[in-house]
Amino acid sequence: MNYLRLLRPGFWIAVLAGAAAAGCAVGLMATSAWLISRAALHPPVLHLMVAIVAVRAFGVGRGALRYVERLTGHDAALRALGSVRVRLFTHLAKVAPAGLAGFRRADLAQRLAADVDAVLDLLTRVLLPYAVALVVGAGSVMLIGALSPIAGVTLAAGILLVGLGVPMLQARAARRADGRLAPLRGELATQAADLLHGLPDLVAYGAAADRLDRLAATGAALRAAERRSSLMAGMAAAVTALATGFSVLVGLAAGAVAVRSGDLHGELLAVIVLTPLAVFETVGTLPAAAQRFAACRASMRRLAEVMATASPVTEPLSPAALPVGPHTLRLTDVGAAWVPGRPVLQDVNLTLAPGDRVALVGPSGSGKSTIAALLVRFLDPAGGRITLDGVDLRDIPSDRVRQIVGYLPEDAYLFDTTIAANLRIAKPGATDDELREALTQARLRDWVDGLPAGLETAVGEHGMELSGGERRRLALARALLAGFEVLILDEPTEHLDDDTAAALTRDLLAAAGTRTVLLITHRPGIAAEVDRVVTLGQEKAAPARVPAGEPLPA
C-alpha cells in the first residue's frame, strides 16, 4: 500500500496546524526565557511589551492550533479510511471468493476489517506526529544553531536519537522478545483452549487439577520470559531523558563559553538552555508513534497482499449474446485449480439439460464445490470448457452467468439484518407477498408468521438467532426468490443431523419445481430422489489425478 496515496490535502493542513502548535510551545518557552533574562536588566517595561504580547499569544495559540490539528487530522484520516474501504471492497468483489483461496482462513474478513481500520491509527498517530516533529525539530535546530552552533548540533543529535535511534533499538528488542514470548504465548493459548473446551472430559475423569498444574508451569515460564525482556522496556524512556538532559546541559556549557567570549548576548543564554525542554515535549512522543507504526505496517502489508491478488476469471472483451432459455450446461474435459498448480479437478464431463435433477456425490475434497464455483463463474476452468447452450462460459460476463445459474452453498451467508432485508438481497424490489411466497416454498412461512416481528425479525450476526434448519431454509427461500433457472444446492453436512438434512433436501427438491437442479450431497442414498447420480473422485488422497465423473444412469 502506497502511504502517500492516503495523504489528502486535509492531512497537510493538519501538519501545518500541528507544527504551528508545537512551534507555539517552543516559542512560549524561548520568548519567556528571553523576557525574564531581559527583565533582569531592568529595562523600561515598554521595551518588553512585544515579548509580553508574544508570550500570551503563544499561550493561546498552542491550544487553539492543536485543536485545529486534531480535527483536520482526524477528518483527513476518516476520508482516507472511507476510500480505502471502497477500494478494498471493489477489489474483493472482483476476486472473491476464488482469488482469495491462497488466504483462505476463517478470520479473513475479520482481519481485513481490522487492517483497514489501522489506516486511522497510521495517519493520526504515526504519520502526523512524525511530520509535525520533523518541521518543529528542524525549526528549533535552526533557531538554536544560529545562537550557538554547538548547542544546535547537540539538539539535532538528540532529536535524531529519540526520533530514529530509539525506535530502531525498540524494534530490535521487540523482535528478540517476540522470539522468546511468542512460542510461550502460543503454548499458553493452546493449553487454555484445551482446559476450557475439554473441561467436561477433564472434570469427568478427575484430571482438571493436573491440567491446572501444567498451565501454572507455562504461565510461570511466560512470566519469567517477560521479566527477562523488562530490561529493554525502559530503554526508550531512559534514552529520551538522557537526550533531553544533555541537550540542556551542552546548551548551558556552550552558552557559558559563548557568553564569556562575547559571541552571545547573556540574555539569550536562557533561550539556548530552556528551549530544548519544549522541543522534546513534542519529539518525546515519537518512540510510541514508531511502535504503533510496526503494527500499522503489518496491517498495510496484508492489505497490499490482498489488493495484489489477480482476478480468477477473465471478463470477455466482446461479450457473446446471452442465450435465451431453456438452458443446457455442459462440462467437457474440465479441470480446475483454486491455487495455480494444485489441481482439484481433472477431465470432468457433465451435462445439465433443462429440468434435469442431478446429484453430485463424492468424498470431501473430491471437488464437488469446485464444480459449483465453475458453473457460477467464480472460477474459470484450467482445462477443457464449460458451455451454456453451446456458448463458452468465458465469453459471457460473469455477472450475467449468475443471473441464470444460482448457487446455494453449504454455509450460505445471512447478513446481520432482518429476514425481509436478507430476502430482498435476491430481489431488491420484491413485495412482502413475494417474500411470503418464497418462504412458503421453503416451508418457513408458518414459522415467520408466528414470530412477533414477522418479516422484520432480526436474524443476528451470521444468522445466529436462528436454528441451523431455519438458517438453511431462509437461505433457500432467498435463492428461490431470485428466480434462477439453474440452481446448485450444496447440502449442509455440519451442524445438522442426518434426518433433518434429508428432510431439508426433500423440501428443497420439491420447492425447486421445474428448475434444473444440481444437488451436491455426501449421502449415497440420494439416488431415489433424483434423475441421475454423478460420482466424483473416489480417492481423497490423490487430488492430482481425480477419475472422470461420468454420468451414471439412475
Binding site: H74, D117, P428
Partner: protein
C-alpha cells in the same frame, strides 16, 4: 472507571508491591525535577549576571549530569518494574481464572470469551501498569513537591499555580462528563459501522451470487461518509476537553512568566528565582494533563480486569465427597433449562444392567447422563445412588464417560488415553480392548504421536475408539455412553459396538442411543419421549 480498582490490589498481590515502588520512584523523580530546575536556574543566572566562566560552572554541570542520569535511571526502573509487575499480575489473574473455571465446572463460563480474555484481553493491562498507574501517582506527587519548592522562593507564583492547578481536574470532570457519554455513543456507532463493513465482506460470495456486490461499493462509500460526519461531530466536542486543558496549562505558564517578568523589572525578584519558577511551572501542570491522555490506553486493560473480576466473583460450590456405585434411582427427576423442561425421568437401574435411553433429539438423553456426572442440576425430584442422595456428593470417581464428541488434548495419544489415570496405567491393553491399538500402531510414532488441535487429523471413528480406550483404562463400575456411533459409517460403527460389548461386561451401562443396532445392545430400553409427544 475508578482511578484505582481496589479489587486489583486484592486479587493480584503483585500490584501492591508495584504501587509502593511506583510511589517511591515518583518521589525520587519529583525531587530530581526540582533539583534540575534549581541547578539550571543557578547556572544561567550565574553566567549571565555574574560572568561565571566554564571552570566555575563545572561543579554545577557535574551535578546537572548526575541529575540527568538519575532521571534516566528512574525512568528506566519505572518501565522495567511496570513490565515485571504486569507480568506477575497477569500470571496471577490467569491462574485464578483457570482455577475458577475448573471449580465452576463445564458450561459455566463462556469459553470463547474466556480464552480471548486470558490471552489478548489481559495483555491490555500492560498499558495500565506501564503508563496510567505511574502517571496517576506522578500527578499527585509532582505538583505537591514542585509547589513545596516554589513556596519559599516566590509566594505570588505559588499562589497563581495553586489557584489554577485545581481547575484542570475540575474542567476535566466537567468536559469529561459530557464527552464520556458522547464517546460511548460514538464507539457504539463506530462498532456498528465497522460491523457493517465486516458483514458485507464476509457475505461477499452471497452478494455476488445475487448480483448485488457492485451496488454495495456505493453503499460502503455512503456509510463511511456518514461515519465521518457523525464522528467529527463528536470529536469537535471531545477535543474541546484537551483544548481547555492545554489553554489552562499554557495560559497559566504565560501568566506566571509575564508576572515574574514584570516583578523582575521592578527588582522585586532575583533572576535565579524567576528562572526557577519559569522552569518548574510547566512541570506542575504536565503530569495532570498526561493522566487524561493515558486514560484511554488504560481503559481497555481495566475493562479486561473487570471482566476477570466478574468471573472470579461467581460463587463456587464446595467440593463434594465421593461415593461409590450402587443401585441408581431416578425419582421424578426433573431438569429445567430457561423454564423449559428438558428431562423428566423415573427409573431404577440395578448394578450390571445395560440401559439405553431413546427418544427424539432434545428429550433429555444426554441430560440424564449429565445429572449423574453432576453437570446438570436437578430442578425437582431426586436421584440416589446406593441409597445416597446425589445432591451434595460426587459420583465421578465411579464413572467412565464417553461423550458424543470426546475432546482430544494437544499432546501424545498415550497422554490422551491416560486421562486422569495413574502414571503406570497399561495404556496399550486399554487401546487393544477399545479396538484402537491397530490404527495407533500403524502411525509412524505410535502411541507417542502428537495430536493437533482437538485431535485434528483423526477420523470420527478413531476419536471414538480413543475415548473408549480412556473408558477401559478408567475401569469404573458405571459407564455412560452418549450416542457413541453418531457420525460413523456402518463398518466403523460395527467395530465400535464390539468394543462397547466388551466394555459393558460386568459394568452398569447407561447409554443415550438413536440407531436401532446400537439400541439392540442394551438389556433394557427407557423411552424418554415426553408423555405429551408420544
Amino acid at each position: 472507571m475508578k482511578p484505582l480498582d481496589p479489587r486489583l490490589l486484592r486479587y493480584a498481590r503483585a500490584s501492591r508491591a508495584y504501587l509502593a515502588a511506583t510511589v517511591a520512584l515518583g518521589v525520587a523523580q519529583a525531587a530530581l525535577i526540582v533539583g534540575q530546575a534549581t541547578l539550571l536556574a543557578y547556572g544561567i543566572a550565574a553566567v549571565f549576571l555574574d560572568g561565571l566562566d566554564l571552570a566555575g560552572l563545572t561543579p554545577t554541570l557535574i551535578a546537572l549530569a548526575a541529575v540527568i542520569v538519575g532521571r534516566a535511571g528512574i525512568g528506566w526502573l519505572q518501565e522495567a518494574a511496570a513490565v515485571r509487575s504486569s507480568a506477575a499480575v497477569k500470571d496471577e489473574l490467569r491462574g485464578r481464572l483457570f482455577a475458577q473455571a475448573a471449580a465452576l465446572g463445564p458450561g459455566q463460563v463462556r469459553t470463547g470469551e474466556m480464552i480471548a480474555l486470558v490471552t489478548r484481553g489481559l495483555d491490555a493491562l500492560d498499558a495500565y501498569f506501564a503508563r496510567y498507574l505511574p502517571q496517576l501517582v506522578l500527578a499527585a506527587l509532582i505538583p505537591a513537591v514542585v509547589l513545596a519548592r516554589l513556596l519559599p522562593a516566590d509566594l505570588v507564583a505559588t499562589v497563581t499555580i495553586v489557584l489554577t492547578l485545581p481547575l484542570i481536574p475540575v474542567f476535566m470532570a466537567l468536559v469529561g462528563m459530557h464527552t464520556e457519554a458522547a464517546n460511548r455513543r460514538q464507539f457504539r456507532l463506530l462498532a456498528r459501522l465497522g460491523h457493517h463493513f465486516l458483514d458485507v465482506i464476509a457475505g461477499l460470495s452471497t452478494l455476488k451470487i445475487f448480483g448485488r456486490a457492485a451496488a454495495q461499493a456505493g453503499n460502503i462509500r455512503r456509510v463511511s461518509a456518514e461515519q465521518r460526519r457523525v464522528t467529527m461531530r463528536t470529536l469537535r466536542i471531545a477535543f474541546l476537553s484537551s483544548l481547555v486543558l492545554e489553554l489552562l496549562a499554557t495560559l497559566s505558564v504565560a501568566l506566571v512568566a509575564v508576572g515574574i517578568g514584570l516583578r523582575l523589572v521592578n527588582g522585586d525578584l532575583s533572576l535565579q528565582t524567576a528562572l526557577l519558577v519559569l522552569i518548574l511551572a510547566p512541570e506542575a501542570y504536565l503530569p495532570l494533563r498526561q493522566v487524561g491522555a493515558q486514560y484511554h490506553a488504560a481503559a481497555e486493560g481495566v475493562a479486561a480486569a473487570e471482566e476477570a473480576f466478574a468471573i472470579l466473583a461467581a460463587p463456587v460450590a464446595p467440593a463434594f465427597d465421593s461415593i461409590s456405585a450402587g443401585t441408581i434411582v431416578f425419582d421424578e427427576a426433573v431438569v429445567r433449562y430457561r423454564d423449559r423442561e428438558v428431562l423428566r425421568l423415573s427409573a431404577t437401574v440395578e448394578p450390571g444392567e445395560f440401559i439405553a435411553f431413546v427418544g427424539p433429539s432434545g428429550c433429555g438423553k444426554s441430560t440424564a447422563l449429565g445429572v449423574l456426572l453432576g453437570f446438570a442440576a436437578l430442578s425437582d425430584g431426586r436421584v440416589s445412588v446406593g441409597g445416597v442422595d446425589l445432591s451434595g456428593v460426587n459420583l465421578r470417581d465411579s464413572i467412565a464417560w464417553v461423550p458424543q464428541r470426546p475432546y482430544l488434548f494437544a499432546g501424545t495419544i498415550r497422554d490422551n488415553i491416560a486421562l486422569g489415570a495413574p502414571a503406570d496405567a497399561d495404556v496399550k491393553a486399554a487401546a487393544r480392548l477399545a479396538g484402537a491399538h491397530h490404527f495407533i500402531a500403524d502411525l509412524p510414532a505410535g502411541y507417542e504421536t502428537m495430536l493437533g488441535d482437538d485431535g485434528a487429523g483423526l477420523s470420527a471413528g478413531q476419536r471414538q475408539r480413543l475415548a473408549l480406550a480412556r473408558a477401559f483404562l478408567r475401569d469404573a463400575p458405571i459407564v455412560l455412553l452418549d450416542e457413541p456411533t453418531a457420525n460413523l459409517d456402518a463398518a466403523t460403527a460395527e467395530g465400535v459396538m464390539a468394543a462397547i460389548r466388551r466394555l459393558a461386561h460386568g459394568r452398569t451401562v447407561l447409554m443415550a442411543a438413536h440407531r436401532p443396532e446400537l439400541i439392540a445392545l442394551a438389556g433394557r430400553v427407557l423411552d424418554l419421549t415426553p408423555v405429551g409427544a408420544r
